[in-house]
Symmetry: C2
Subunit: 212 residues, 2 copies
DNA sequence: ACCTGACACTAAACGGGAATCACCCAGACC
DNA sequence: GGTCTGGGTGATTCCCGTTTAGTGTCAGGT
């Protein structure tokens, strides 16, 4: 008498996804779950089930959970970076560039709330520094694109207060502030998002940058 | 041969902390750990060990982990609220009130980074709405104290843009933005905190509120 | 045709979180 | 005495992320 199989072990084994095929499948499933249920909701087991594979299999392709989700964040930020790069090359006034970059930034956040939280509302020290290096670098490059025009403005003597460095950080932070609050505290009663973005942009631009 | 006791079971039982004494002990221990190690670092077991009691005992006094930490947050926000209340009663210009409230807000955040994160960088939906009702209410009252002077300013026709509601939210958000970024991304290179606070305040006040 | 090793994959287990269970015991009250 | 009550306990449950030890499959050398 041979060994009786105790369970149908998943209706046979999932065939190999050759090359980087499986990796892509995992990312796609993880992104779907992550967008729907956030960081905590996107568990290794759930992702694995969605792919139709054992949870261990994910570790063939990614070092750990954070690497999966940061990869998703990376792809999202690449889009943001490309918007900034495109804007920075357009032949428009530096002030207008800044305004459009910040506008794009806020819209990006509202469109990808979970990803935005993952990357910019950094689950504090939960994710180690080195792990998010790739994402961090991309964020830096976004910020570089943004601070280019700010430096132009500063060089033209049109900064009302602060240095190019602090002004860039404050402008960025003001936009981050409104989107992060609206995203993380959806139960509060907020003014319409469009109005908040508008008031933030107008207020902060006029407050920091002198009229021509 | 009788059963050997595997461990000395804690050097006898911890005597009862009568009344609300034990509750206070737990809060004190939890606060210390939470401030030092953040939300994830403050585990039920660690807190219980620090008090010298089994982890189960904490559930005698608190419904769950979040209630312990939110209680800590509550106490901290009460301080912030009392600052705001005191400021709102001083016989000074509404604009000056707003400025001082925002300044106090940012300093509070830098002084209590972990508490600030817990309350204002809300681990999204992780903590259910009802659970944080008490803290939320306190937050609302802080915001009410803050939006009082803003409404005064709006009524005086001195708002450059937006309504009293959206202006208040944007002012708050700008301050939240800078402190939350500095707190959650300490590895980035930031301008000095004093400068960031200054530039934020100046920029956002001048940008939203007309000179007298 | 046969080994062999690399590879994608697996079940099972580990350790550590929050929370719950059934029980225990000291003291108050009758 | 008895009984109730409330703070206390160890063991247990459930779910995490991650690790271990192994299994099936296939390409390539002989």
């Amino acid at each position: 008498m041979t060994v009786a199989l105790k369970k149908p072990p998943r209706s046979a084994r999932k065939p190999k996804g050759d090359g980087h095929m499986r990796r892509g499948e995992i990312l796609a499933a993880a992104e779907k779950i992550f967008i729907a249920e956030g960081y905590a909701g996107a568990t290794i087991r759930k992702i694995a089930d969605a792919v139709g594979v054992s949870s261990t299999a994910l570790y063939m392709h990614f070092r750990d959970k954070d690497q999966i989700l940061l990869e998703i964040g990376k792809e999202a930020i690449e889009k943001l970076l490309s918007i900034n790069v495109a804007l920075s090359q357009e032949p428009i006034d530096a002030v207008e560039k800044v305004r459009r970059m910040l506008d794009a930034y806020m819209r990006f956040a509202f469109d990808n709330p979970n990803t935005y939280q993952l990357v910019f509302c950094g689950s504090n020290e939960a994710i180690s520094v080195e792990k998010q290096q790739a994402v961090s670098d991309l964020g830096d490059r976004c910020f570089d694109e943004f601070s280019g025009p700010i430096r132009e403005i500063a060089a033209a003597g049109r900064l009302k207060t602060g240095t190019a460095e602090s002004a860039a950080q404050v402008l960025w932070a003001a936009c981050h502030g409104i989107v992060s609050l609206v995203i993380t505290k959806p139960s509060r009663s907020w003014a319409p998002a469009e109005e908040l973005m508008q008031v933030t942009l107008d207020g902060v631009m006029h407050g920091l940058i002198a009229e021509r």
